[in-house]
């Protein structure tokens, strides 16, 4: 009887405990759902403007997808577009040109930006005005920048050749020669974007505690020692952020190069982005263009992971700051 009673009590107790647990779980679940409900609009927007276009692009890249209905019907080809790209010499040429553009232009912009930030990291009469004026090129529309440089480099009427003629040098067809045309688009990019680097690095420099620099001076460190051992390590996250942002931007460079050279002469400046546009809107091959876009996405992710993972983990940052 007692056993029965106690087992009954036990059951009741267990039931009470289960019901309390259930109640707590339900409350917990309700509380757990609430944040997601609040986040839902943001998630929907991110899905609509970020995730869905990427997924759609991925799907389109597996189709032979003409831009115009008149060009033919859509047909599933699996990895056919990717295979065709690997056999396309123009694809490899454009990739080589795009990577060359990144690895030449960005270090130069970093160097100029860093040098300017160091030079202007002091107060003098008109410092604010100088810093503001230096930023002007960044605010130029890319297409305007491309057009301006195209006219400046015009062999017959451009001011650059006019100057060369006055100095006794021959006229140069800057955009008519494959080598000088490629250099010209890099110079244009450096001119327009080095102030971007300056802006970010200057902000980083002003955040470095003065006490650390003073302490280094007291320890007998000169300019170069301070730069190498104190400033650069502390500025590294800013440097890497700037470089990463510029790489992402440089991978998409289009309008200024299109206006300057349209990818020519020949295909000397046919960057990856221009060739993607040509595939989609010139050749009407949206599937191929999407495959190229996915390829570009993979390259961007590789760059981002390499830069962020290796050098921006907390442990690494603490270690560098400690050193």
């Amino acid at each position: 009887m007692r056993r029965k009673m106690s087992s009954k009590k036990l059951d009741i107790k267990q039931k009470n405990a289960t019901s309390k647990t259930n109640k707590r779980t339900k409350e917990g679940k309700a509380r757990g759902r609430a944040p997601f409900l609040f986040l839902a609009p943001a998630i929907i927007i991110v899905f609509a403007v970020l995730i869905f276009p990427i997924l759609f692009s991925l799907v389109v890249s597996t189709y032979n997808w003409p831009l115009s209905e008149g060009a033919g019907i859509r047909r599933f080809v699996g990895f056919g577009n990717y295979l065709a790209l690997t056999q396309d010499s123009e694809f490899w040429n454009s990739l080589k040109l795009q990577l060359g553009f990144i690895f030449i232009a960005i270090p130069i912009e970093l160097l100029f930006g860093f040098a300017a930030a160091l030079l202007l990291n002091r107060e003098f009469f008109g410092a604010r005005i100088v810093r503001s004026l230096l930023l002007l090129p960044v605010f130029f529309l890319p297409i305007l920048s491309g057009m301006t440089w195209r006219f400046m480099l015009q062999p017959r009427y451009g001011p650059l050749n006019n100057l060369l003629i006055k100095l006794g040098a021959p006229e140069i067809s800057w955009l008519g020669n494959p080598t000088t045309a490629y250099i010209a688009i890099i110079v244009q990019d450096v001119w327009r974007m080095w102030p971007f680097m300056f802006m970010l690095l200057y902000a980083g420099l002003t955040a470095i505690p003065q006490e650390l620099l003073e302490a280094a001076e007291i320890d007998g460190a000169g300019f170069w020692k301070k730069l190498w051992s104190v400033i650069i390590p502390l500025l590294m996250p800013t440097i890497l952020t700037s470089v990463l942002l510029r790489i992402i931007d440089a991978l998409r460079v289009f309008s200024e190069v299109y206006v300057m050279t349209e990818g020519g002469p020949g295909s000397a400046t046919m960057l990856f982005s221009l060739y993607t546009q040509r595939q989609a809107f010139g050749y009407q091959k949206v599937g191929m263009a999407s495959a190229m876009a996915i390829f570009l996405l993979i390259i961007s992710i590789v760059f981002a992971l390499t830069l962020v993972r290796k050098n921006m983990s907390l442990d690494v940052l603490e270690e560098k700051a400690g050193a």
Binding site: L67, P178, E262, G264, Y283
Partner: protein
Amino acid sequence: MIYFHWENKTPKEAIMKRPMLIVALEMVFAIALVGVVSAQTINVLFWDDAYPRTLMEKIPEFEKATGIKVNIEILQPPQVFTKTSVSVTKERTDYDLVCVDEGNIPLFASLMLPYDQWGPGKIYKKIDPNTVTPAMLEVGQWDGKLVGLPINGNLYVWMTRKDLIENPKYKADFKAKYGYDLGVPQTFQQMLDMGTYFYDNGIVSGGFGPFNGGPAGVFGEAIFMWYSFGTHFIDWINGKPTLVVDKAKAVEGMEFYKKLMKIAPKGAETMAHVERQAAFCTDPKGVFTQFNWPAQIASYEDPDKSLVSGKIVYSAPPAGPSGRFSIRGTWAVCIPLATKNKDAAAEFVYWWASKEIASWLVEKNTVPARTDALTDPQFAKTKPWLPAIAESMKYAVARPRFNEVAEVQDIVKKYWIMGITGQMPCNDAMQKIIDETKNVLKKAGY
């Protein structure tokens, strides 16, 4: 006076009913207005050029006469191509009328209403296609059907500096050196001789004005030279575009153009329309001779924009070893199958292509496609380019047309420029063109 019987209602009911009545009336009015407007409005896609821009001045007259409102979108040719590609399908269209460049007719033909199915026209009579010069009419034809009405008489016309060839000193000097009279070049050799004379003596900045801009334009130059030296590039054989080029003749054509490039203005490797116009019209020395599209003549003859206005003599292109040829680049107006305003769109085209409007367009220095407007004697003296255009039409040839032509144009542009600028031997450049074009045709299943 009308009284609303509000006195039997409560104040609240009276207050509510009046605004509701007004809103209801407004909605009915708006629906009626939309209904009226949408039935009488057409959306038209124009290419950006002096010709459509000139026509826009006259459109209010058409709207007044017909009650049809015309919404115009005017874009650069590449954007017209893209817009047409994405906006027009068999089931839906954003435009009731689109302008299609002749090279793109194969791509869009299946989406357009054949001309024989266009309505008869209410206020403006349907245009007889035979009013269009036969050389131009071919532009709108594809697969045995006329799918659009050619609307401008655009093909190579040759321009030569009248003031230079009429200069007594130059005439005597040239005759002494070359043994024949200076004049409008009739052959390629004469063009090279005269251009070299003026260039080497520093009289001009360029003895010849090449075109090395967009792919379609460079393709046109290459086709022009190949035809002139006796070879086609791609012909339709047994229903397929087939590479038929004679490499040896094509290389000859490229080599000759390379000689012309040596007497071209500085920067000729990248000369597009803007640079050519600047070199010919605003350079104090200018260019001796070059082709031009009639659509651009207005700017060349505008005294406010050109130092050589009134100093240009127009002719058909000079003859190569295989004869005279003139590259055509005409636009056709097409009505998409999916439009719900076929008749209104057709009415607009009949007005646009009428004799009255064509004559008015000629007076404004633009070039319609109607034979009677181009050959009207009243314009012969004041518009000296018109007889030249009519003459050029006798030698009109088209660039190859097929769906994959854009890829082939890029290939030709790339290696043609490398060949004519000496970056690559012409023989090698031509071989590259042949090999890569064959690849494109093979991949396309031809």
